[in-house]
């Protein structure tokens, strides 16, 4: 029965939830849960889709005996997924003694720099800054800004907020959380030790939170209709916005053995639970040509929970990671209780939001071949806004030239141009064996129309997509010859 009980720390208070006795679901978002609790109105709903960050909270969890602090959009976070973690909300930052408020340094900086006007986005910004404060050792100026790309403000023009962040996150001093760390680690470890896997059978919803792969595979077999999530930043939006009811959920976010990033002799193996933030660091180290995509991918709040397995399995027609995996010739490892198989990502995605995953399988890992000598990768994305905006069109290039500068191998992959991520076959065919020069790239770009007839939608008209898609090929060419013609910022 204990597998039914969710335990976590809400700030410094242990919360135990027995879903058999509650009228809310395990998949209730942390935001909605908080707003049901007296005294927790500081976390705001601005959009319920992870685009505004007004609901930002910080999750602390134990890693190697220490706490890691991650900012997360609480509107996209299922309550049951925070088992064994500390949920830190805006109410907990300041200390109140004898009716006197001692603000946390990030709060103090926001006040002093006039970082709030209407105040509605402020708790979210404060929590993003708190997250930075706790991770400040590795944070440079650009990353400071990047860490707040997931928070929208309509009043200030961000200037005072950026100044506040720079002022308080540069030289963070130990705060009350530093003092409590040992105690919190102890308490969280105890929860996990006591119960690390949840199998909640609430009256209206079954929520499975395995902590090991074999348990996960067992659940997968036992509950083949369960919606599998790994980060849930896509699934939670469906629940929030179309009120889709999810009777069975298999949440892989706690499965430790799919979180690895390993380097073998011929392959990199990335567990499906690799977060986008971890993947960003991986790309930075190994495929810098693909960084333009990761630099502007979602927001830190989303990258902290969204996973590569989750992103692949949405099989989105844009799916900003999918083109990269196409270019890298990545394969997915699909495992069931009885067997496992490797298939190329190109075959894994079978259509508009469709994959070849069987009902007894779990996407366990992504395997990326180490690049042969001479192989280069580039990617370019256009979006209405640079940050936190899904591509209107993206183009990714895999290229190998021979010593005479002729194309020996090429793949050109487009996102946002069809019902699924797709290769520009005609352009590839044309360029193979040709000299790699601007004129040939330009000729090839005219062939994009042979493979794609994009649609007009909420992001763009088809006419723009075609024009941009053609030009993106030129841009990739310019990048490949190290021409500094990209936006320099």
């Amino acid at each position: 029965m204990e597998k039914n009980i969710l335990q976590f720390l809400l700030n410094d208070k242990l919360i135990e939830i027995d879903f058999l006795k509650e009228d809310f679901l395990p998949s209730t978002t942390v935001l909605n849960y908080l707003r049901m609790q007296p005294g927790f109105m500081g976390t705001k709903e601005g959009c319920a889709e992870g685009d505004c960050g007004a609901c930002t909270v910080v999750l602390a969890e134990v890693q190697n005996g220490e706490l890691t602090y991650k900012t997360i959009d609480s509107c996209l976070l299922f309550l049951a997924s925070i088992h064994g973690k500390q949920l830190i909300t805006v109410e907990h930052l300041a200390e109140i003694n004898d009716q006197k408020i001692k603000l946390h340094p990030v709060q103090q900086a926001m006040v002093e720099h006039h970082g709030s006007q209407c105040g509605y986005c402020t708790p979210g910004f404060v929590m993003s800054m708190f997250g930075m404060y706790k991770n400040a050792a590795e944070t440079d100026n650009e990353e400071l800004t990047d860490a707040m790309a997931g928070n929208l403000c309509r009043c200030t023009g961000y200037k005072p907020i950026a100044e506040a962040a720079q002022a308080c996150c540069k030289n963070p001093k130990p705060d009350k959380f530093s003092l409590q760390q040992v105690e919190i680690v102890k308490r969280l470890t105890q929860i996990r030790k006591h119960q690390s896997t949840l199998e909640i059978s609430a009256p209206k919803q079954i929520y499975l939170l395995p902590s090991r792969l074999d348990e996960a595979l067992g659940f997968r077999e036992k509950y083949p209709v369960a919606v599998t999530i790994n980060g849930a930043t896509d699934t939670a939006i469906r629940q929030n916005k179309t009120h889709e009811f999810l009777p069975n959920i298999l949440d892989l976010s706690a499965v430790e053995d799919i979180k690895h990033q390993k380097e073998g002799s011929a392959f990199f193996s990335l567990g499906a639970g690799t977060t986008l933030e971890q993947f960003k660091q991986f790309v930075k180290a190994n495929f810098p040509g693909l960084m333009p995509m990761l630099k502007v991918f979602a927001s830190l709040q989303i990258r902290n929970v969204a996973t590569i397995g989750g992103n692949l399995s949405t099989a989105s027609p844009i799916g900003d990671l999918i083109p990269l995996f196409f270019a890298l010739k990545a394969e997915v490892k699909l495992s069931s209780r009885t067997d496992n198989r490797m298939i190329p990502v190109e075959e894994y995605i079978t259509g508009y939001r469709k994959t070849s995953l069987r009902h007894d399988e779990i996407l366990e890992a992504v395997q990326i071949p180490k690049p042969e000598k001479g192989l280069v990768f580039f990617t370019e994305k256009v979006s209405t806004r640079r940050d936190l905006d899904i591509s209107t069109v993206s183009s990714t290039l895999r290229l190998r030239l021979n010593t005479d500068n002729f194309v020996e191998e090429i793949a050109i992959i487009y996102g946002g141009m069809a019902a699924q991520v797709k290769r520009a076959v005609a352009a590839e065919k044309y360029l193979l064996g040709k000299q790699w020069c601007f004129e040939e790239a330009e000729r090839a770009s005219k062939l994009i129309c042979e493979d794609f007839t994009p649609i007009s939608d909420a992001r763009s008209n088809a006419e723009y997509r075609v024009a941009a898609a053609k030009n993106l090929l030129l841009k990739l060419y310019l990048k490949s010859v190290d021409n500094n013609e990209g936006l320099s910022l």
Binding site: C47, H114, G119, V382
Partner: protein, 770 residues
């Protein structure tokens, strides 16, 4: 006031950062509070054939469902022009028109109920664009006109004439806090409405009308808004009326908080405009004559559209003296949600056309656009009468220019950009300087009034009530400063009450940038009244046989006579004495802006108390392969008069500028053929993020620039800096134009999103090849 004294932080800043600041969505009224949900029309234009909610009423947790038959009062949301039904009767005129109201124990029950409601429609042909409206002749009112000189003759005298058209997009407010209201029923039909409204008096009025009550039975209170920007000037009344109807019917408190997507889909926006113009000018680039015809999309109802059109007409001159001019404007009815107030209130749409046209003049003459603008600025001593006949007094354009042209390094940057563009084929940079002159006052003259109620309590503390609402702009902070200064008290002795219609009645909306101008004066008036009473007591207490009587001074919590500063009593002692002497410690205040008048028929008058000025220089880089752009540097110098709070004013300037940048660049409203807004969430509707802020962003206020006849010689600052964003829009155009080495006039529109920019560049490339 020196800077140290006046840059106090927002009075709610600590509440904001600790999550303690309360918004309507955060309010709880015990267990009995119900959730309200509105059933909106999915059709832009349709007859309602039948409505059946019998099954929905059976859903567990549903308390009541109301249709128009259950409205006890008048079925109208607009108190003046009755063209906005509170609940649709037999026809819907836009997507998002309310048809039914659901009250339920919780949101889940309300959602389940909505699924079971059956409404059948007979769809009608909708009018969805200005062009369709013009073809169908659905003008909202007759065309407005302002004319000066002889425009036709002027064109004949001009050396050159440029003709053109410009499409100007709308804009979603995207206040962080969506429309929300909580209504709590009281005894004898009374209703208390906690609203997120810029206009509590009108909210009170509309609620009393739909409920069939007297105004004295309804109270509206506004603690704060999570952003307004004009979007809560009239349209906050809608949720308030809906929640009040449900509260009235159920006898229980009812809260409605619009879901983000619903708010975006169903509430009004900045008006899209279409402009056509003819501009005649001399070979030196001096404007000789300007004829402008504006057409705007009002949406399905009147709302504030005619006042918005009027402001567009008043601002068609921007900062330029135009001897011969005619501007006409028509508002068109369409089957879209009624468009409404949004920071600038039509001013931006009026101004942007002449800024665009002058940019063309510069390109046509091969001159620097900034210099063309400079030449045409209103004069200091002559060439200073607007097209509606108002004298442009205290013109600060030249001061701003002189300072900004140097501090922004305009000429150096322009030269650098020129050489950058010569070296780069696929990225281009551009720069622009644009001015702002913005008329301050409601153009409906009587609205320029405000009230206040100041209470002093026996412990020597002060509670200030006034008619203005706090939406983040820092109004309460400035009022607090004003009260503290007038009473000579430290700030902590002053507290601001939520805006409440039972304390200060019949107030105007907090809009038109006028909040501090009007309410600050009203508060001062109230304080002056109390002080007259206190003065005579103070004189009595402080004067003895040896002292000559002098003026009573309030300073640092003390009260003394100017003739004898050594003999003091504390403010608190004075207050206690006053109470014991049966002297009232409370006073109301009032202010009405003097000297405003405007004759709509003649298009002549002095509609504005004064003008606010500003100027900006921005440069951008455009990726000519994708159309994406980035602001590299922006320099702003803005005239806020003698600022009451410099940091708050700087925050208004930077915030308005970036909001303007959003309107000018990424914020595009996309509709499908049946009138549905496609980008109805922040996933696809993109307001600026922190990464869109210029890397080098320099915002300054003009120093030593006291205003006359305003509270503490300050100037309104809410709206004017919004239009500084034209510098970004025209810098992008400059960069686009560089693709053809400024030899061809590029196609352009507002917003200059990736699509506009890239398609314009592609056209230039084709024209170069031909």
């Amino acid at each position: 006031m020196n800077r140290a004294a006046n840059n106090i932080t927002h009075e709610s800043a600590v509440s904001h950062v600790t999550g303690k600041a309360v918004y309507v969505a955060d309010m709880h009224v015990g267990e009995q509070m119900l959730t309200g949900k509105v059933v909106f029309s999915p059709y832009a234009h349709a007859r309602i054939v039948s409505v059946d909610f019998t099954e929905a009423l059976k859903v567990n947790g549903v308390v009541d469902i109301l249709d128009f038959n259950r409205i006890p009062g008048i079925n109208q949301l607009n108190p003046l022009v009755h063209d906005e039904p509170c609940l649709a009767v037999d026809k819907v005129n836009c997507i998002g028109q309310a048809i039914l109201l659901i009250a339920a124990e919780n949101e889940h029950a309300a959602i389940e109920a909505e699924k079971k409601i059956k409404i059948s429609y007979d769809p009608l042909e909708p009018v969805l664009t200005i062009m369709q409206a013009r073809e169908n002749g659905t003008a909202l009112a007759k065309t407005r006109k302002i004319e000066t000189g002889n425009p036709e003759e002027g064109l004949l005298k001009a050396d050159h004439i440029l003709e053109g058209e410009l499409k100007i997009g709308g804009q979603e407010h995207w206040y962080l806090e969506t429309q929300s209201a909580l209504s709590v029923p009281g005894e004898n039909m009374e209703m208390m409405v906690y609203a997120s409204s810029q206009n509590p008096s009108e909210t009170q009025h509309v609620v009393s009308e739909v409920l069939g009550l007297q105004a004295n039975q309804v109270v509206c209170e506004v603690k704060r808004m999570g952003g307004g920007f004009g979007g809560k000037e009239t349209q906050a009344n809608h949720v308030a009326a809906w929640s009040a109807l449900l509260a009235n019917a159920s006898g229980r408190p009812v809260k409605i908080v619009l879901f983000r997507d619903d708010d975006q889909k169903f509430t009004g926006k900045r008006h899209p405009f279409e402009a056509s113009y003819k501009l005649g000018f001399s070979k030196e680039g001096m404007i000789v004559s300007y004829i402008l015809d504006l057409h705007a999309d009002a949406g399905m109802a009147t709302d504030l559209s005619m006042a918005i059109l009027e402001r567009a007409l008043f601002h068609a001159d921007s900062s330029y003296f135009i001897p011969n001019m005619r501007v006409t404007g028509t508002m068109w009815k369409t089957n879209l949600p009624s468009n409404t107030a949004f920071r600038g209130f039509g001013g931006p749409q009026g101004m942007v056309v002449i800024e665009h046209a002058l940019d063309r003049v510069a390109r046509f003459l091969g001159k620097d656009a900034a210099e063309i603008r400079y030449r045409n600025f209103y004069g200091l001593n002559d060439r200073n009468i607007t097209h509606f006949g108002q004298l442009v007094e205290n013109n600060r354009l030249f001061r701003l220019w002189d300072e900004l042209i140097i501090s922004s390094e305009y000429y150096k940057r322009r030269a650098e950009i020129r050489s950058f563009n010569q070296k780069h084929s696929f990225k281009k940079r551009g720069i622009a300087l644009t001015p702002v002159k913005f008329g301050i006052s409601f153009t409906t003259a009587f609205l320029n009034q405000a009230g206040a109620l100041v209470n002093i309590y026996k412990d020597g503390t002060v509670l200030v009530n006034h008619g203005g609402t706090e939406m983040g702009q820092g109004l309460h902070t400035k009022i607090k400063q004003i009260a503290a200064l007038e009473f000579g008290l430290p700030l902590e002795k002053i507290n601001l009450s939520p805006t409440n219609t039972s304390k200060v009645p019949n107030t105007s909306p907090t809009a038109a940038s006028s909040g501090t101008d009007l309410n600050g004066m009203a508060v001062k008036n109230a304080i002056d009244k109390v002080k007259i009473r206190l003065d005579s007591l103070a004189k009595h207490l402080l004067t003895d046989a040896n002292t000559a009587s002098g003026e009573v001074v309030y300073n640092d919590g003390l009260v003394f006579l100017s003739s004898n500063p050594d003999k003091t009593i504390t403010f608190k002692e004075l207050v206690i004495n006053a109470h014991l002497s049966q002297i009232s410690l409370s006073a109301t205040g009032f202010y009405g802006t003097p000297g405003l008048h405007y004759d709509k028929e003649k298009g002549r008058g002095n509609p504005f108390h004064y003008f606010a000025f500003g100027m900006a220089v921005s440069d951008v880089e455009v990726d000519t392969l994708t159309g994406m752009s980035k602001i590299l540097r922006a320099d702003i110098l803005h005239d806020a008069g003698q600022s009451i709070n410099e940091d708050i004013d700087l925050g208004q300037v930077a915030g308005a500028f970036i909001q303007g940048v959003g309107w000018c660049t990424t914020e595009t409203l996309r509709y499908n053929a049946s009138g549905q807004l496609l980008n109805h969430s922040p996933d696809t509707y993109k307001i600026p993020g922190i990464g869109d802020v210029p890397n080098d962003f320099r915002v300054e206020l003009l120093k030593n620039a006291p205003n006359s006849q305003t509270i503490r010689q300050s100037k309104a600052v809410g709206e004017p800096p919004f239009m500084l964003a034209f510098s970004v829009w025209l810098a992008i155009k400059d960069a686009v134009s560089a693709v053809a080495n400024h030899s061809v006039e590029p196609d352009f529109a507002l917003p200059a999103n990736n699509e506009t920019v890239l398609l314009s560049i592609e056209k230039l490339r084709i024209s170069l090849k031909v």
